[in-house]
Symmetry: C2
Amino acid sequence: MYKLYHFPLSPFCRKVRLVMAEKKIEVELVEERYWEERADFLRLNPGGQVPVLRSDKITLSDSTSICEYLEEKRPEPALLPQGAERRAEVRRLNAWFDDKFYREVTLNLLGERVNKKIMGRGYPDSKNVKAGSSKIKFHIDYMGWLLDRRRWLAGDRMSLADFSAAAQLSCLDYISDVDWNRNELVKEWYAKIKSRPAFRSLLADQLPGFPQPPHYSDLDF
Amino acid sequence: MYKLYHFPLSPFCRKVRLVMAEKKIEVELVEERYWEERADFLRLNPGGQVPVLRSDKITLSDSTSICEYLEEKRPEPALLPQGAERRAEVRRLNAWFDDKFYREVTLNLLGERVNKKIMGRGYPDSKNVKAGSSKIKFHIDYMGWLLDRRRWLAGDRMSLADFSAAAQLSCLDYISDVDWNRNELVKEWYAKIKSRPAFRSLLADQLPGFPQPPHYSDLDF
């Protein structure tokens, strides 16, 4: 059985958890306070980040390599479509959320409001929080633009791109930082993905000191 | 024929250029001053970053999706190995250099010394330069550790991971920010990859205002 070293409000861990649940791959979750730089953990991943996926045979890190690995080992249901062009679009958007959305939005909001406190690294910097609150609007509008042209973010079928996006947004939703009224299509898309069985484990997450807001696990938010 | 919108000292563009040259895929290079946010360019990539790869049929962005696409369309020579575990290791290291090395080292050195000047964004911040100069040592040591166990960074065959690493290091070598005497194995590895025909176009790059140092294009540096 797989073991996933994770942290509940890490969007990259959530992406892997969603992919594993969607593919019905059993996994034991092990919470890792990665910022404490435990020596045994650094031996698993010298990069010092979660997620790390382990089994008897493998130790993998980096959420995208893990998801590509899982896609190769358990191709059904497919989270990368047929056709090199379509796969490139899924991977582009996966990188968009992992990199651009994460740095412009998640780090500025979740990083400031939650991670700093948990890690004992001081108080939120209001300049960063403001930047994140402003940038999330652009990203929601872009998602709306995509969803006006496609059923799912990267095409007509649900893909890894949807899970990357939902992983980021679900962390921000936990701290009530998503304005779901900004775009009806984005809200509908999130309602669809949130109601999947794969999402249940995320909706049960609890972070000590940061109680879940009532709408967070409500499928009819 | 493909067109690549690029900037000479962008490590992500260099990675794609190396991959295309290694696979002998013809490409026309179009220099894009992406920070000027040209409207026509933003239509190609709303993320506003280079590289962007175009043909009659496709417009792709994000260097990793582009490289995965090229690997699928032109599998020979293979830059991802056989076997899901080995591919995961290549992808982990590709992400290591694109993300961790880039943010800890390249942004702090090239970003401060070169990009700020070209983009008219002020003077180098010496705190960041110092952080980059310190972090590059850790990365070179880690590469040395890998190369002590393997012929190439991710295994016994050259792969995308080697090109990701060489793309970052070659940009820093252009501004003489790599201490090649720190680790003999890393120096040997770079000499091997630098002498490949695929590397030639990178060694011919010239950036106005930043003359090439003599060792940069010397295969016997």
